[in-house]
Symmetry: C2
Subunit: 328 residues, 2 copies
């Protein structure tokens, strides 16, 4: 049987966790990050039991993978070309089994193995609820993608379909809204995989850098869709002082995605798909889309500050967001 955290001395716990980092990496009060002329990007994201994961829907390995992926997705959406590493703060009750912690750190290691970077350091504390707070550091490439850098005339493109993670969650929870629906099994599998093991879009950023038309400056607006597609578009528009027109016949959904409720809502506001949402000059978007087959053009940026409209009827899109602190 797995020991609980309360069974392990602090020294023993730290020894076990140190196996997930390079030799001697966790042997001091701090970690050193080598420096060169390129700025570092930094991002912090928390994942809380019952909100961002649960035993019913997320294996320990997936908890770790997802927490890293959420952070790296933010780094990608800012133009990171290299991941330096992460620090992990782990809070958990004493009754938590070591096996759960071990699984979480295996997921963390797997994600770092896939995308680069090391476990730089961290902290552990007892607490009533299991949670991870991860801070990720990445190296900026030649382009700082920024939420405030959309410009009227840009086209809005995304690196892939949306709603899959929300569908995956519904399937894992055996939600009534999906119980009697005849979905293609490939869509089901894709949705569950997306929910459990999302992909930060670091490669798609590399492609964006590689394909910039020479006559264009290094300027691109962008963010990731962690809080949902619409929330990403709203964030871009508000930060850039722009508006957007979205085409409801160009919603970025997967093959076989049903129409109507709740499917359109899940595409627009399901969240946690961790795709890039970019605002680019048309010529750059065109060539990027050739490299990223799942990318989709979803609309256009205009000068109507803070307003998102549907193209077909010019009505304003309802942009109510995910409420972090409200009642569930």
């Amino acid at each position: 049987m797995s020991p609980t955290l309360a069974d392990l001395s602090e020294a023993e716990l730290l020894k076990r966790l140190a196996r997930f980092a390079p030799p001697d990496q966790l042997s001091d009060d701090t970690a050193a990050v080598p420096s060169d002329r390129r700025p570092l990007l930094i991002n912090t994201d928390v994942a809380v039991d019952g909100i961002h994961f649960s035993d019913a829907t997320t294996t320990p390995t997936d908890v770790g993978w997802r927490a890293v992926a959420a952070n790296l997705s933010d780094l990608a959406a800012s133009g990171a070309v290299e991941i330096e590493g992460i620090t992990v703060a782990l809070v958990a009750p004493g009754r938590t089994s070591w096996d759960w912690v071990d699984g979480v750190y295996q997921g963390i290691s797997a994600a770092l193995g896939q995308y680069g970077g090391i476990l730089l350091g961290g902290d552990c504390s007892k607490g009533e609820q299991r949670l991870l707070s991860i801070t990720a550091l990445g190296r900026l490439g030649p382009l700082r993608i920024h939420r405030n850098a959309a410009r009227p005339g840009d086209v809005l493109v995304t690196s892939g379909p949306h709603g899959l993670s929300r569908l995956g969650l519904a399937l894992l929870q055996d939600d009534p809204s999906v119980r009697d629906i005849d979905l293609p099994s490939t869509l089901r599998d894709k949705a569950i995989a997306r929910h459990q093991k999302p992909t930060p879009r670091l490669e798609e950023v590399q492609q964006l850098l590689a394909c910039k038309p020479e006559h264009l400056p290094w300027r691109a607006g962008g963010t990731d869709s962690s809080d949902g597609l619409l929330s990403a578009v709203v964030g871009l528009c508000n930060s850039s002082g722009c508006g957007a027109v979205l085409r409801n016949d160009q919603l970025p959904v997967s093959e076989g995605w049903p129409e109507g409720s709740p499917w359109t809502d899940w595409c627009l506001a399901g969240g946690e798909d961790f795709e890039l949402v970019l605002s680019l000059p048309g010529a750059w978007a065109d060539v990027w889309q050739q490299y990223v087959p799942k990318s989709q053009r979803i609309g256009q940026i205009n000068a109507e500050a803070g307003v998102i409209r549907w193209a077909h009827n010019h009505e304003q899109v309802d942009t109510g967001g995910f409420d972090h602190f409200g009642q569930p």
Copy 2:
């Protein structure tokens, strides 16, 4: 009356928090940290309600100050000469009042104002228990102080007295062990101040750098005493493959500190005094002590790996530590 977090929209909460950072600092997915040739030091520390702070002993401002100070203390103990900034992950129940959050961030700002650095970014989430997870970045100076760099023949010095924070906690909790004791009022005040508003020893590190005797190389073992003085000495010895001899007539205590139980234990293992514990060649320690009047020589490093002894009777020191996940 203060609104609760559940009353505030996410946008409103982020707007309020953004006031604690430079303009536009929190406007994107990530923050950029400028780069030069000096490595960055990174450190993460969590502060959990009921473990690291409580409404009974810690004002909201002190919660923020302490959380920053704990992080900066680790950076100091690694040789940081400049603080770049911090990210803050805040987890709290929806019923938490804005006033509490506001106070915490005021304490964070006050500490950054005092020691340098900015609020670089962060994250917020609902959770059952209030906690802060802070990651701090600092710039390394010419000396990497490291826990593994103590050498036999070094002297052990600390930047100041120990046990004060533990005494302050006991006084704030009206603990029976201090209720009927006649302590000098200056000692009481100092202890409470130390508990509520500890000082990261960044200045003392600057002095260490400034006073190195020319003939000595840039090598110093060190850590901070966040988990207690003995725990710091054990950490130094274990990481460096050395042992230590401590003189019980040279325990680093404040003027007026009583003898016996629990006073000696509080000095050795009270924790959260956030002093530097350094292992230095005698000549360097001598000159540093002239610059740091509260510093004290507490013993010597030797080659007896992993063993801490009392100088007067050569018995091994009992080094049981603070157990992070055990029952309280």
